[in-house]
Amino acid sequence: MNQPEELSNEFEQELTRAMRGVDPAEGFADRVMARAQAAVPVRAKVIWIPRRIRMWAGGAIAATLLAGVFFGEEAHLRHQREQAAQQQFELAMRITDRTLEHVQQQLSDAGVRFGH
């Protein structure tokens, strides 16, 4: 009969032999890869632009913005000047109309007849 120590060793050896690795079902790596790829968030495509071009592009954008501000301001001032001129013209026309009406009235009072 085996001694307890020998029996224990024998049992442990048997355990080690019996507990061999077990393979998962066929295609395990494919299934994990599919899940891993599905889990990766879709990232926006990044386009690399050379430093020099980025600097030129930055300068061009800044110049465009400055030009826009300048020409916008210019157009605004021009519009204001046009409006002021229009108002002055209308005022002059009203004064002229009144003056003409006044002169016409005085001539009419003096017995001068115009037209037919």
Binding site: M1, L7, S8, F11, L15, P24, F28, V32
Partner: protein, 174 residues
């Protein structure tokens, strides 16, 4: 930087047997083991940047496989260890009863499933992964004394169960 697909596949193929075997023997269920093993590798995919080398990856996979397997076991409704305790109470045997090794392999997974979880984990790591008690203790964050105690009692229970299983096996044909 994320790991390249072919490198990740190589890691899966290298370690899938180890991870699946731990999950299979701890959970005792092939479909749960498959799910656990997949989750472990997906976690590896997310954590690969923090792992320095092949040894670190192997150690990490073992540890995560054990933790995810015990988590899955705890989520399951039934508790085989409770039945195991009753089973042990009903069958008091001599510790050093002679055991034949014949037929043990066929019964082993069934016997392991009946072990309480902490003993099962330690037995799997000791005899499947051939880790030393100190290594198991470090991996599980337990004391070496606790691991040795689980190992000792786990083996004792397994031997008892194996002895009874073999007796039944021999008696049935007669």
């Amino acid at each position: 930087m994320a790991i390249a697909d072919d490198e990740f596949r190589r890691l899966i193929e290298t370690h899938q047997r180890m991870v699946f075997s731990i999950a299979m023997r701890v959970t005792g269920d092939p479909s749960t083991a498959e799910e656990v093993a997949q989750d472990v590798f997906l976690e590896l995919h997310r954590s690969i940047e923090r792992l320095a080398n092949a040894d670190h990856i192997r150690f990490w996979l073992r540890r995560v496989a054990v933790h995810r397997s015990t988590d899955a076991l705890r989520r399951r409704a039934h508790r085989p260890e409770a039945a195991a305790e009753e089973w042990v109470e009903d069958h008091s045997l001599e510790d050093d009863a002679p055991i034949s090794s014949t037929g043990l392999q066929a019964r082993l997974d069934e016997l392991l499933r009946a072990l309480p979880e902490p003993m099962r984990v330690v037995v799997v790591l000791r005899y499947q992964e051939e880790m030393l008690p100190d290594e198991i203790a470090r991996m599980l964050g337990k004391s070496a004394a606790s691991v040795k105690s689980h190992l000792h009692h786990g083996l004792k229970l397994l031997r008892r169960k194996a002895a009874v299983t073999m007796k039944e096996y021999v008696r049935e044909p007669a």
